[in-house]
């Protein structure tokens, strides 16, 4: 099942490992050699100016974007392997998007239930019980039968989080999940993510919420022009950034 480690991988090794990842779109090189490790239960935030390749980086991890060179491993699964079993990978890696991307023709509950039933072939009744519990967990009890179009942005984003969790992933990727939200609904989504992090879910976030990153992250990576410029635990990262680019960026956003 979803938690089963692959051959040769043990929980004490990094759950996600990137080694010298390169990615080009045509002649434009978005990622120019990115390497880092994420350990199980860690919360990692990736920050940086726009166009620095943050979203591309996070999309490479669940093979939505194929990399040009380098290696990515998730629980020992080699993502760059051309014979990659995408289903096996995506069971382990959940993803939440900036634009929620709920399926507009299904209710909130159906959105959460669809993938476990269609993709994993699980029992409908068992899935429904789990889906209801997940919606309650993201504080959307009572909204089960609402369609995405009837929900606010923050509510939709929480349904999207529940939808990902329904697949029981080991790693969650969050791609600027609050960027499209009204300021007043940002908080409710961040609270949900924080709870997840506190429960020990391995999370990777691309975010512009610096205060949130400072509070929740175990480790912060700053990317610019396709490379990791600087990284460290939030305390040191925000207090004493070494690189000129990092300092300039932080002075603009803080």
């Amino acid at each position: 099942m979803a938690g089963t480690p692959s051959q040769g991988w043990t929980p004490d090794q990094p759950i996600v490992r990137l080694v010298d990842v390169h990615k080009s779109f045509g002649t434009f090189e978005v990622l120019k050699g990115v390497s880092f490790d994420v350990r199980k239960g860690e919360v990692v935030c990736i920050i940086g100016p726009s166009g620095s390749g943050k979203s591309t980086l996070i999309r490479c991890i669940n093979a939505l974007v194929p990399v040009t060179a380098g290696s990515i491993q998730v629980e020992g699964i080699e993502v760059t392997d051309p014979r990659l079993d995408k289903l096996a990978l995506r069971r382990k890696v959940g993803m939440v998007f900036q634009q929620y991307n709920l399926f507009p023709h299904k209710t909130a509950l159906q959105n959460v239930m669809m993938a476990p039933i269609h993709v994993l072939g699980q029992d409908r009744r068992e899935v429904e019980a789990r889906a209801r519990a997940l919606l309650t967990k993201v504080r959307l009890a009572g909204k089960e039968d609402a369609y995405p179009g009837e929900l606010s942005g923050g509510q939709q984003q929480r349904v999207a989080i529940a939808r990902s969790l329904a697949m029981r992933p080991d790693v969650m990727l969050f791609d600027e999940v609050t960027a499209a939200l009204d300021p007043e609904t940002v908080k409710e989504v961040l609270v949900t993510i924080r709870e997840l992090a506190e429960e020990g879910m391995t999370c990777m976030l691309v975010t512009h919420e610096m205060n949130f990153a400072r509070d929740v992250a175990d480790h912060i990576y700053f990317t610019d022009r396709g490379v990791i410029v600087e990284h460290g635990p939030p305390a040191t990262f925000f207090a004493s950034a070494q690189d000129e680019r990092t300092r300039r960026f932080l002075s603009q956003v803080l």
């Binding site: 669940n62 939505l64 995408k86 289903l87 995506r90 069971r91 890696v93 959940g94 993803m95 998007f97 634009q99 991307n101 709920l102 399926f103 507009p104 023709h105 669809m114 993938a115 269609h118 993709v119 994993l120 609402a146 369609y147 995405p148 179009g149 009837e150 929900l151 999207a160 939808r163 990902s164 697949m167």
Partner: protein
């Protein structure tokens, strides 16, 4: 009941001269009903077949094979830009006579497809070509990011198509599809030209024998008004049933 209606129309004829033979002469009535049945057969079968052609064509058009894409494009272009009546003639006379025929025990030539079947084939292809375009534009209107979300949840290409893309595409293209299917129902009258005994054909037979052109014209107009009306109603019901609260306008 039936007798009363018949008697009423008989009296209408005797007092005013309006001769609605269909409503009191069982022979004409049966011809008319047979014609109506044929129109329904043509309409329903061509609607169903053209939907299948449209769905398959749209799938092939977004598929990987260049040859198939080219063929589907060619099919769409040709059938959209030539008169359906000439298509029917081309199929029925042109291809129908070229195809090998079976022979009965006493040596009579029996074509593989009769005129009704050829009408169904060519009308389905005609409307199918439009459906391909309609479905394709529907599929293109589904946001790429929604498909991406399905992929991120582990959906295969095919499953994402079935559970996410198609249901959404169908809703987007329903108004255009409506129009085309209504058009198709109207186009079934062209089968008249190859002597398919549909409503127009039956009604014309009746008026040339009973000499009541005006009356039968009115019956004809009313018949198509009702048929189109029923189809419009069904399609609207369908549109309503598929409407997603909060989505679209």
């Amino acid at each position: 009941m039936i007798e009363a209606v018949q008697a009423w129309f008989q009296r209408l004829y005797e007092t005013t001269g309006f001769n609605f033979t269909v409503f009191y002469d069982p022979y004409d009535w049966n011809r008319y009903v047979a014609g109506l049945r044929m129109t329904l057969l043509l309409g329903i079968s061509t609607i169903l077949i053209s939907l299948v052609i449209g769905a398959v064509g749209a799938l092939l058009q977004s598929g990987p094979s260049r040859l198939l894409r080219g063929l589907v494009n060619g099919f769409v272009v040709v059938f959209r830009n030539t008169p359906p009546l000439v298509q029917i003639f081309f199929f029925y006379f042109g291809l129908g006579t070229l195809l090998p025929a079976m022979r009965t025990a006493d040596g009579l030539r029996v074509p593989i497809l009769d005129n009704v079947q050829w009408a169904i084939v060519s009308l389905s292809l005609f409307a199918g070509a439009f459906n391909v375009e309609i479905f394709r534009s529907g599929i293109e209107a589904v946001p790429k990011t929604t498909v991406e979300a399905a992929e991120a949840l582990g959906y295969t290409r095919f499953k994402a198509y079935r559970h996410v893309v198609l249901p959404l595409a169908l809703r987007v293209c329903l108004p255009a599809l409506n129009n085309n299917l209504i058009n198709l129902l109207k186009t079934t009258t062209l089968a008249y030209a190859i002597a398919v005994p549909e409503t127009l054909y039956a009604v014309k037979q009746i008026w040339s024998e009973s000499q009541n052109v005006l009356e039968m014209m009115l019956v004809l107009l009313a018949t198509y008004a009702v048929l189109v009306g029923v189809l419009v109603w069904i399609m609207h019901r369908w549109e309503r049933a598929l409407r997603i609260p909060g989505y679209g306008r």
